[in-house]
Amino acid sequence: MFPHDHIFSLPLAANWFAGNWGLLVVAVIVIYGLLVVGAGDVMAFSLKRAWAISGVCFAESIRKRVLWITPLAIVGVIGITQFQRALDEQDAVRQSLKICLFATALVVMLASIILACTNLPKEIESRVIYTIVTKPITRLEVILGKVIGFARVALTMILIMGLFTWGYMRVTAHQKQQQIAYRLQEGDVSDTERDRMGEYEHSGLLTARSFWAPDQLGVYGAPPDPNSSQRVISNDGEQDVLAGYAMDRTALFGPPNDNVDDWAHSGIGERGLAIRVNLNTQRTGAATDQPQAVQPFGPVFGKAPAPTNLVPPRISIEIFDENFNDLFASTTMVGASTSGELVKNIVEYSKTNKLDPALSAGGIRLSEPTKLPDGTTGQTAYAWLPPQTAIGLFRHNGFQVRVVGASGNVDFFIGPHPVDCFIPEIKPGEFDIDGPHATRIDPRPGIDGTGELLAFRGRLGIHLDQEMSGGSDAPHTTAVYSFRNAPSSVTEDGIPIQVNVQVDRSNSEVEAGHEDATMLDVSVLDEATKRLTHLAQPVLVESRLPAFFRIPADAVTTGNYDVLLHCENTAQSIGLLPTSLLLVTSHQYFEVNLIKSLSIIWMMSILVIIVAVLCSTFLSWPIAIVLTVLLLLGHWGVDQLADVSGPGLGRQIVNDFKFTDVALSKVVSTGVDTLSNVLNYVSDVLPDTSKFDAIEDIEQGVNIPGDRLLEALTVLAGFGIPSIVIAYVLLRNKEVAP
């Protein structure tokens, strides 16, 4: 976790403890609770007695007709599924499955929370507990017995709902499959649907697939040349390129220091962050951003003379965080074409501490082609992030320098090392931006382990995907999914691939409802042989619906290959996510996947029960319910604040609000940082319920990986075991007679 990263100066052992303090807390609780406080009770522990208690809890729940909630849920599910609006047969099946599993989880969690929170307080209130604890039963057995008992109730409910889900889905899928077979037989399918329906008929509607995700998605202005390291991004922000940097705090901020505020006075916190961009450009039409001064003044007779000395195009430089979110806009950085010019602009900025938009990194005109220290030739642009802003990087795990073209009718050629970051040397009389006295910051390595980690992206779409414009003109926008060390899943028909994209036809002039089928032209580039293979038939895609195709088996020689996509339809664009194209590695029975999903729901319900029992040992049941919900949602809640919390936040707030009073700044900065740290520590301690996602994968037809179950089990054990111990210690020291 981030908050303890600044302790990395401690010795190795201490460092390990700092990084695993959650585990230590668990160990201390368990050892203290079971070996120090309750050694006698542990020795006397009897599973038979715990099972007897669990039997009573189970009998009570059954006889109080808790299970009656399941038929009600089943009726509700059947009712709701009648009103769904599905995109196709598989979507209908998946929607139904999602509703079934959601209802299962909801019903089980609600029942678990209410049963487990009310049981102990009611037994104490009704004094039934008198006749229990006066028997030779330890409080540990009481707690465990209750947890086991309600876990049995939850399991019974899950089994009932699971059986219903299985039956209902099998019947629904069978009906839909019959419809598909009929439509295919009668030819009642569109061109777009035919392949998809064929795949449904072949693989079934419930079959879960295992996928292999590509290592990288790149969207380029032109198809990448296999024999060149140059890549193209188009003009006007159609594409951009991001160069990734890890957050090496020692490299960026200097020697470690426990006091976060002191980071502001060393490294980039003292001298700012200098960025140098090196690329080449090529005009693809008339220049659109020439200064007005070069335009002829007065009436022009005949053809206007073309400007003879075109000034270079512009780019903008920004900084994104590790999650591709805006961090520092170009207008917060000083920009320039050359390092010398940048020094002047920094001096200018330093006089007033106000940034003239004309001197910012937004729309920097590239330099004339120059030779760089590394021997390459290109056009450069520079940016400098002031130190008081650069301190904001401290609380991130990485950052990315974004370069985007700001001139029209220009192709920008990006080499393998387009961005360099430096800690400049700034001394009186000595100002070195990227020379020998500046400190170069190492970028993240690329997906092959060499070069820099570059992300070429398309324009951001409304679904947070990257847009790839369609059109048959060359050179055309191309998306490249890069697979490295992909498993061999070659069948006799080739390598199966699933594509799931968003299609935007909003610019299409064709009447709505009569649009052309959206066609993806697919090629495969084998990394080893550099051989490019085109698929004979385009792949027809539709929004939110999967499309399937197979790469010919002889197109690739190893697990390293790129899949190139291009949309042939003019005025349409395709929204792509890094996982929009997936390699299908295997199929799995629906039943196995369903059992995995239900197992995760059961594990979640056990966690809910443990937390509820813990809360009920010291609270009345209504308050216990509230606290249980808070504890279960706490981690998620802090996660929502994750982007803004973290060390350095206090300093940033002080800067943002321009506090001038030193004492007040210190108070605000320390207070905010402390609060932020507390929140992060609380988040560490609370269970991460997002690890119990039992629905998303199975709904998407994805084989739930074993790791998912292991993750859920880890959270259950990590939070559940100490919670049981705490509950035991609390009950052991509780006077159960009111």
Partner: protein, 296 residues
């Protein structure tokens, strides 16, 4: 004082003070109780409501913790889970799972003592017979039980482990006179089996009938302790009992006693207790000796 093997219960300066939310003293429920109950005796804990009887029992069972002082039960610290193997407890009301039936209740408590299934199969019906719950009543849920039936099943659960020490908190509450008599008979039979019984009640007649020794608590403090017969003995009155006498014989006896200098002698026919009368009438009218309990 160190407890001896002869002592079933021993307390020293046992004190319980209930505190409020802020930790301030609220109620001193029991104050400096020094008490020893010997093995094999029936001991009565008497006192009005709020005198500290139930508090004492809760302390001995570990349901609450002492503010000061110590208590040992069968040689172990009070509240020790292991010693619960040898203790039976009947609370002042039958605090049992109301969704279980009589048999299930006893089987559940039997499992807490890890009594083998085969043994439970024999012991449960025998205990239900002992407390007078018939076959029909055994299959009914406890929520349908009358107060008397609930006391009986409560007593059965207290005896499921064949305990050495039985703590009975108001055992006759809710019982009719026959049930009360049966309860008292059972207590006496437990005494005959060598078991120790700690009886807590404010029904003095019940205590008088069965207890060997008693103590009286008032406002958390022990007022007196001793043998029942010693405490109840009226030393300045002498009672002579004979077979039935005629009226002339009574007059002659009175004259004789006056001559002997005895002041205001009373010579009359003794009366039975209402309880004895009730039991005799019910027993005479109960065909075949069937229990009246559980037939509703």
């Amino acid at each position: 004082m160190i407890p001896t093997n002869d002592e079933a219960v021993h307390t020293e300066h046992l004190t319980k003070v209930y505190k409020d939310f802020w930790g301030r003293d609220k109620v001193r429920a029991l104050d400096d109780l020094n008490l020893t109950i010997h093995r094999g005796e029936v001991f009565g804990l008497l006192g009005p409501n709020g005198s500290g009887k139930s508090t004492t029992i809760k302390l001995l069972l570990g349901l609450i913790f002492a503010s000061r002082g110590t208590a040992t039960v069968l040689g172990h610290p009070a509240g020790d889970t292991a010693i619960n193997e040898r203790i039976g407890f009947l609370p002042e009301e039958s605090y049992l799972y109301r969704f279980l039936n009589g048999e299930e209740t006893l089987k559940f408590y039997g499992r807490l003592f890890k009594i083998p299934r085969a043994e439970l199969k024999k012991r449960v019906p025998a205990l239900l017979d002992t407390v007078g719950l018939d076959a029909k009543a055994r299959k009914r849920k406890l929520r349908e039980y009358s107060k008397g039936m609930a006391r009986r099943i409560g007593l059965a659960q207290a005896l499921i482990n064949n305990p050495d020490l039985i703590l009975l908190d108001e055992p006759t509450t809710g019982l009719d006179p026959i049930g009360t008599r049966e309860m008292k008979d059972l207590i006496l039979s437990l005494k005959q089996q060598g078991k120790t019984v700690l009886l807590c009640s404010h029904l003095l007649a019940d205590v008088q009938d069965v207890c060997d020794r008693i103590t009286i608590l008032f406002r958390g403090t022990m007022q007196t302790i001793g043998q029942v017969k010693d405490l109840l003995q009226v030393k300045d009155v002498t009672q002579i009992q004979t077979g039935g006498m005629t009226d002339p014989q009574i007059v002659e006896i009175k004259t004789f006693l006056s001559r002997m200098g005895v002041k205001d002698p009373i010579v009359t026919h003794p009366t039975t207790t209402l309880e004895e009368l009730f039991i005799r009438i019910v027993r005479e009218n109960t065909a075949g000796g069937q229990s009246s309990v559980g037939s509703t």
